[in-house]
Every structure is written in C-alpha cells, then in structure tokens.
C-alpha cells in the first residue's frame, strides 16, 4: 500500500493532464481503445515513479511518460510504424523529401491546404512516421515550446527543429496533392 502522499501527488501531478495525455496517446497509437490502454499503462508508471520523481514541470513530466509508454506499445504492437531516424538512410531521407516536394509541385495554390477536408488533414498526419508525427502533435496540438518538446522526446533541440521542419514539409506536400 502506498502512502497517501503518493496518491495526493499523483492526483496533483498526473491527473490534471489526463486529457492531454489521452490526446497524445490517441495521435501516437491512432485509435481510441489503444490510446486508453496506453494512458492507463502510463498512469501506472507515473504512479510508481512519482514518490521518487522530482517533478518540476508536471505537464511535461506526464507527457514524457505517455510518450515513452506509447513508443513501447508501438514497438511491441506495430514495430513497422516506428522508423527511427537513424535507420533512415540518406537515400530514404532524400526520397521522403522528394515525394513531399513532388507532391507539392502538383498544386498551384497554397489554398489546397485550406481546402483539404478535416478527414484529409487527419489522414495526412496519421500517415507521417511516428517520430515526425509526435513532434508536430506536441507542437501544434499541445503547443509545447521547442525546449519542452526536446525534454519530452529526449532529443536535442536541433533535431526537434529539423524534424518539425521536415514533418511540416511532408504535410504541406501531402495536403497540396489532395486537390490538384
């Protein structure tokens, strides 16, 4: 039995961020029931860690646990979804950029981004490799700063910036292609 301080701390640190935790898990796993599993699992991890943790930023701390839990879940259940940047060869990187650039070339107007349906936007985001998707989600949906994203993903800020740039380029390319 844990002491009541841990419970109080858990209520104060993790639970207020439940909605955001769920949203992040939803984007990383791609569906509601898996998101729920991930959040439950993350909550358990948070609860176990909370007594010993020195939590300075409860929101970032909670999101970090959810993000890491989601990655473990992805590795176990959908290993193909998780492509690490280190595994992407230069050629692959070029082709990703190339596809994005080519797709975008098909559209005359930026208005295509605005014309895409919500479903198309959702699909384009869901289709990004997880390591790009998470950066966009943390930045645009959770509105975290670069520094916070770097803390949550345990990446250098420079990597956060370059992935965010590339992820946006891919999205713009993909959405540009929707309405030629």
């Amino acid at each position: 039995m844990r002491n009541s301080d841990d419970h109080a701390l858990f209520d104060e640190v993790f639970l207020p961020h439940l909605q955001e935790a769920y949203r992040l898990a939803r984007w990383l796993t791609g569906n509601a029931s898996d998101a729920e599993d991930v959040v439950q699992d993350a909550a358990m991890r948070a609860f176990r860690a909370i007594g010993a943790a020195d939590v300075i930023n409860p929101r970032a701390w909670s999101l970090t646990i959810v993000r890491n839990t989601a990655y473990s879940w992805l590795m176990k259940n959908r290993p193909k979804d998780v492509v690490f940047a280190e595994d992407l060869g230069d050629a692959d990187r070029r082709s990703l950029d190339h596809i994005a650039a080519e797709r975008h070339g098909a559209t005359p107007e930026d208005a295509a981004i605005l014309n895409a349906t919500a479903e198309e936007v959702r699909k384009a985001l869901a289709a990004l490799p997880a390591l790009f998707r998470e950066i966009v989600v943390l930045r645009e949906m959770h509105e975290l700063s670069y520094r916070e994203i770097a803390a949550v993903t345990n990446l250098p800020i420079g990597t956060v910036m370059s992935r965010l740039s590339r992820a946006r380029q891919m999205l713009i390319g993909a959405l540009g292609q929707v309405r030629p």
Binding site: V39, L125, M161, S165, R168
Partner: protein
C-alpha cells in the same frame, strides 16, 4: 511550386512561426520576410497548415477514465474534497469581519479540488513558459476586447498598477472542456494569475497547494480565482484591490 527556401532560412522561419525567436531576431526576420516572396509563401503554408491542424476536433477521453485510473493506481476511488478546517474557520472569521462584502461568506459547495488543481497547473505552466499570456498588454482596453473575441463573456480587467500589480496580459485556459479567460499581473518578479470561472462554480476558502496560494471570490457573472506564489497577505491585498477597482468599472 515549392518555394525555394534554403534549409537554414526554413529553420529560422519555423522558429519565427513558433514564437521561438527573440525580439531582435524576429524583427530582422520580418524584414527579410517582407522582401522575399518565396519565404512569404512558405510562411503562409506553415500558418495554413497550423490552422488546419489546430482546427481538428479531438475526442475527449472516456468520462470514466480518471476514475478507472484512480482505481487501478490503488488511489482513492472518489476524489475527496477537503479544504482544511482551520482555513475554513479563518475564512469564516474573515467573512464575518468583512461583513460588507458578502462574497467572502463561506459557501457550502466548493470549487472542486480538480478545478483548483487545474488552475494552479495553468499558473505554473504560465510561469514556466517564455511568456505567461497569449496577448501581452498593460492596457486593459486591449485585453478586454481580446477576451471578448474568444469567450462568451469577458471578465472585468481592472488596472491595478496603483496597488503594485501591473497588468501583463491575458490568456485562455481550458478547464475540462470550457475555455476560461485568465488575466496575468506582474508583481516584482512574481506572477499573479486570475482565472474567471463561470458563475456556476463556487467560491472556495483560501488554500495553499504545493506552495501556491489560491483565493477566490464572486463578482458579477464570474467566480474569480487568483493564484500566486506571493505571500498570502499580498495575495489578499491583491484580491481587495481587484474587487475595489472592478467595482469602478
């Protein structure tokens, strides 16, 4: 066409869009942006993309998720709302002393612990962020309309510079599913956040959670909740000044 923008320029552009450039760099970049159509186009694309992404609706977590998590974490199944008796007694005394201000009188229902916790969370987040508000202004005539454009009812935004609390800006916080306006004041190196909750919320006795003092009162159509790490007596003075000044508006 994909605008031909150099990689480094693109990173600067992204940082600009994300509010990560300091004022000097942002100013310099704005000049370049104005002079470079390719850069301008890329900028428009990033902002259009942002608008679309932020416009996506999000599923809320199942309503019983928190309860289930509490249960599995071995925590209390029910949130216990307990404000310390001593604080309640103190509040009652204050309520009696300040008989002319009935809003101090104790209410049997309370601002829920959860709401208090979210408000403090927002305050902490604000204090850690590069800026603790979405609109920066020391002019109440700027902040009030900014709120009015975003929430159904705009709270009173008194100017408290005379009392030593300088208006710093405003932001919209979200509690549960409800967007609520929060006014940010600066007091020396400290920040005071005042969140205006809808009238159906109830006033709580003063309390302190994790080193942050919390004080609430009812005025007009809102329940105002002030949070800060300034001494309790200073926060009390702040609340008095806010109420007095708001009456004039």
């Amino acid at each position: 066409m994909t605008p031909s923008v150099l990689y480094n320029d693109d990173l600067t552009l992204q940082a600009y869009c994300d509010g990560e450039l300091d004022a000097v760099a942002a100013g310099a970049f704005e000049q370049r942006l104005a002079a470079d159509p390719d850069l301008q186009r890329r900028y428009d694309q990033v902002l259009a993309l942002r608008a679309r992404l932020r416009g996506l609706s999000e599923d809320a977590p199942p309503s019983d998720l928190a309860a289930r998590i509490r249960a599995t974490a071995g925590a209390r199944a029910e949130p216990q709302h307990h404000w310390p008796w001593r604080a309640m007694a103190a509040c009652l005394v204050i309520g009696i002393l300040a008989g002319s201000t009935p809003m101090w009188l104790i209410q049997h229902d309370r601002l829920s612990d959860q709401t208090a916790s979210v408000i403090i969370g927002n305050h902490i987040r604000g204090a850690l962020a590069p800026q603790s508000f979405d609109v920066a202004s020391s002019d109440r005539h700027t902040i009030k309309p900014w709120f009015a454009a975003r929430v159904a009812e705009s709270p009173k935004v008194p100017d408290l510079a005379q009392a030593g609390f300088v208006l710093a800006g405003g932001r919209i916080d979200v509690i549960g599913q409800t967007p609520v306006p929060t006014i940010v004041y600066k007091h020396a190196a400290h920040i005071v956040s005042v969140t205006a909750l809808p009238q159906r919320e109830t006033v709580a006795p003063d309390t302190t959670i994790a080193g942050y003092h919390l004080r609430s009162w009812r005025d007009g159509g809102f329940v105002y909740v002030a949070v800060s790490d300034i001494p309790e007596s200073d926060l009390a003075a702040f609340a008095q000044a806010f109420i007095a000044e708001a009456r004039q508006l």
